[in-house]
Symmetry: C2
DNA sequence: TGTATCCTTGACAAGGGTGTCAAATTTGAC
DNA sequence: GTCAAATTTGACACCCTTGTCAAGGATACA
């Protein structure tokens, strides 16, 4: 039963992600990960070194997926449609499937409990998200569709989305999240006062 | 060295609160609390039963203080000034003093990691906060000062404030939080279009 | 086939956390 | 002054977690 790696890395990272999402970084033990992935604890240590490294791999994979999807929906010219699609992604991310919870927000909330490296990764994701949103808003702002300058609007959306993730933890009501998101969109992109 | 309780309950709860804020409920051990309060672990168990009970006492005290202060600043007739004061309180709460961090948000983010009783307390605080805000908005809305119906506006502020607490953990920039809060206020309470 | 390499597995040591308890000690009341 | 009640204290048992390691087994390549 050895000689060459016997587990599929993608599968392990996907299952580890689900655990980290639900329990958060600190509360997840290597034993939890071993149980969830079906890979023995010793093998995980052998392959990744420690929990932090395994988390960083998981997080990187998650970040790439999330930012790619976000960039894609923000491409369109209609900023209202783009924002709606963005919140759909973000909310689905928190509420759908067995891997509920927002990995970014949960990790961010742990604050100084986690290592500087992990905090830097979280900050990096939020910075990138902010930049994507700001670019989309800048395009829309040129068309006079926005109630705010692009950088203020992006900051607002990033902050607000963190709030949604916390509200999901407390109330677990995806419908309410969508309603609140729509309210924000209405504030940011007022219906044009007809020429 | 015994016979009657030798510690001041208020002092113990205040110091415990500081620890819970910084580390969060799960990450705080009874030994942490014993060190911070100067009361031996055994005495804490004797006085409170367990960590959850001690946390609930701490949280109740925090909740009362926070809601009282909020109700007070929301009393005024000028909704813009009231909101500004509210965010000042909330942001000071997260960033000032040795007890940094928002206890509500940090606990909320732990989600299902904590007991149903703790989650109910957190929900209770947010419900009360929402009600206070909704009442203040309802008074302002009657004067046509608001961009949103009172219940949507209160939901928005509650959600947004959770987001601020997460952003504080990530960026630790109180000034940026204040700027973002002011942006939200401007969206919610548009400057009157002069009669 | 032989051998070096790599992965897996179970065990181990060390550290920390929780909750309990008996002994010691002090207080307050009778 | 004596006694009951309550608090403090340190120790104990138990469990979980991390990280390491040696032994065992499979693979690939020469």
């Amino acid at each position: 039963m050895a000689g060459v790696r016997r587990f599929d890395e993608e599968e392990v990272l996907a299952k580890a992600e689900a655990v980290f999402r639900q329990k958060g970084y600190e509360a997840t033990s290597m034993l939890d990960l071993a149980s969830a992935t079906g890979v023995q604890r010793g093998s995980l240590y052998h392959a990744y070194g420690d929990k932090e490294e395994l988390f960083l791999r998981t997080f990187g994979r998650y970040e790439a997926r999330f930012l790619t999807a976000t960039a894609q929906v923000l491409e369109g010219a209609d900023i209202r449609a783009a924002l709606t699609a963005f919140f759909d992604i973000a909310i689905a991310n928190m509420t759908a499937g067995p891997a509920r919870g927002c990995l970014t927000t949960k990790t961010a909330a742990e604050g100084e409990q986690t290592s500087a490296r992990i905090r830097a990764e979280v900050r990096g994701l939020l910075d990138e998200l902010d930049a994507l949103l700001a670019a989309a808003f800048a395009r829309a702002g040129a068309q006079g569709a926005l109630a705010l300058p692009a950088d203020e609007a992006s900051r607002m959306v990033v902050t607000f989305t963190r709030g949604l993730a916390v509200m999901e933890r407390v109330y677990g009501d995806a419908g309410a999240l969508r309603d609140t998101a729509r309210t924000l969109i209405d504030l940011l992109v007022p219906t044009r006062p007809s020429v």
